[in-house]
């Protein structure tokens, strides 16, 4: 079944949108569960981000290939099965690469199945666009997700453990704020990042408005 559609031309924006304008975590507020749960250290955040990116790109690609073949009524089931397949693959890949990393990420690898960044991309992009554009766009989203997780993980690790990537960087007398590596710390840091993004957006809108007013007067 084909939908009335317009295919997007692949441009730099196809990729870059996911990083900033449509950042899954900071702008679209998707994938909050891993963003809060596994960002207590920078290395966990990066590993989780990359694992999610892999699943996101692979499942979006497959969904894009099958997009005209999946009836609308069963699309969610089909997406979940495809996503779960790639999550299982990532799960085994990580176990084969490093048991330590596997132990560090714990149950959150399996929970990628329920990550709404992936389902969101499948529903709003992969099911409507050609393979090439889908790969570029979902890769951008994945990298945006990774960057968002890393920016939370870095702040939380620095404040909560006085270290970055496990290397101590704070002065000797620094007393770690343990709350930062606990669940409440995730909410605090996420809130602060959202404030920064919202403030930046407001500032841009205001500048545009001022520009328009100035233009009208001229």
């Amino acid at each position: 079944m084909s939908m009335p559609n317009q295919y997007e031309q692949v441009t730099a924006d196809t990729f870059l949108r996911g990083l900033w304008e449509e950042n899954p975590v900071f702008v679209m507020l998707l994938g909050m569960c891993p963003a809060l749960a596994v960002t207590n250290s920078a290395i966990n955040a990066i590993s989780m981000g990359l694992a999610t990116t892999f699943v996101l790109v692979m499942s979006s690609a497959l969904i894009s290939i099958f997009r005209n073949f999946i009836p609308k009524q069963v699309r969610i089931v089909a997406y979940i099965v495809i996503i779960a397949t790639f999550v299982t693959i990532v799960d085994y890949l990580i176990q084969a690469i490093s048991l330590d990393l596997y132990n560090a990420l714990g149950a959150f690898i399996q929970l990628i199945v329920a990550n709404c960044v992936i389902l969101g991309r499948a529903e709003s992009y992969a099911s409507r666009q050609k393979l090439g554009a889908t790969i570029v766009n979902s890769f951008g989203s994945g990298i945006g997700f990774t960057i968002a997780l890393l920016s939370m993980g870095a702040v939380r690790e620095i404040l909560g453990a006085g270290a970055l990537f496990g290397v101590g960087i704070m002065p000797v007398g620094f007393e770690p704020w343990v709350v930062m590596v606990l669940p409440p710390g995730g909410f605090f840091v996420l809130g602060c990042w959202l404030i920064i993004f919202a403030w930046n957006k407001k500032r841009k809108e205001q500048a545009q408005l001022d520009g328009a007013v100035a233009g009208g007067q001229a």
Partner: protein
């Protein structure tokens, strides 16, 4: 959202009739089969690597908790006796660590107990000469990073296990004093473990895991020390 992606036109969709159930069935069947194929392929490919990783991790743990050991041998618990475990054996396993000359340095004994977020698997070294636990490490756990996982890094906590007394009672049937975790900074006896403040549940799990394994296995191990020593000399001779 970018304007280049048009919203789905709802009116257009209403006139499209629902596809026959066969189409849905066919789609799901094909996707499920493909998915099954992928999963089987990756499991087939990854299993040897995972088994090798696990074996290497166990071996590394044995040499870590029995410092100075360079040869290891696996024993399996059969009733109340130990026997040399065949390759790939499953059951209650203990590992003996020998030095280059084949003399026994210590035993590496695994244990498990429930922590804060799931089971905590540990491996600890037991020295028959000192009648004490000499070192321990975590094998796997899912404890809270930054708190529970301090049991891996906290030097003061690790020092508990430098010489944690694990002496058997006179009858040789159980520990004379059960190993237990006590609240932070209240350790009084050499068989007590000082918990980490903020990670008490995980610290207690480590203590429980060591205690239950020691209570069960140390009486057997101590009784069978001649056999374990003999195997070491054989292993050295075979080299």
């Amino acid at each position: 959202m970018s304007e280049t992606i048009p919203a789905v036109n709802v009116e257009d969709e209403v006139v499209v009739p629902a596809p026959p159930s066969f189409a849905m069935f066919r789609t799901l069947a094909v996707i499920a089969m493909l998915s099954g194929l992928f999963v089987v392929l990756i499991v087939q490919w990854a299993n040897p690597y995972i088994a090798a990783n696990k074996k290497a991790a166990t071996e590394a743990a044995v040499f870590n908790v029995v410092p100075g050991a360079s040869i290891s041998k696996t024993f399996i618990l059969e009733g109340d006796k130990l026997a040399v475990a065949p390759e790939g054996a499953t059951g209650t396993l203990v590992y003996a660590g020998y030095d280059n000359a084949g003399s026994l340095i210590g035993m590496a004994i695994p244990g498990v107990a429930t922590g804060y977020a799931g089971p905590v698997y540990v491996m600890f070294g037991y020295s028959p000469a000192k009648e004490a636990v000499i070192k321990y490490q975590i094998l796997t756990m899912t404890e809270t990073p930054g708190l529970g996982d301090k049991v891996v890094t906290d030097q003061k906590f690790l020092a508990n296990f430098d010489n944690l007394v694990a002496k058997l009672n006179d009858a040789g049937t159980a520990l004379a004093n059960a190993i237990k975790t006590v609240p932070n900074k209240s350790k009084q006896h050499p068989w007590e473990i000082d918990a980490i403040s903020g990670a008490t549940i995980t610290s207690t799990a480590v203590g429980n895991a060591i205690n239950s394994s020691a209570q069960q296995l140390l009486p057997v191990i101590v009784k069978q020390l001649p056999l374990i020593r003999e195997q070491g000399i054989k292993a050295e001779g075979a080299k």
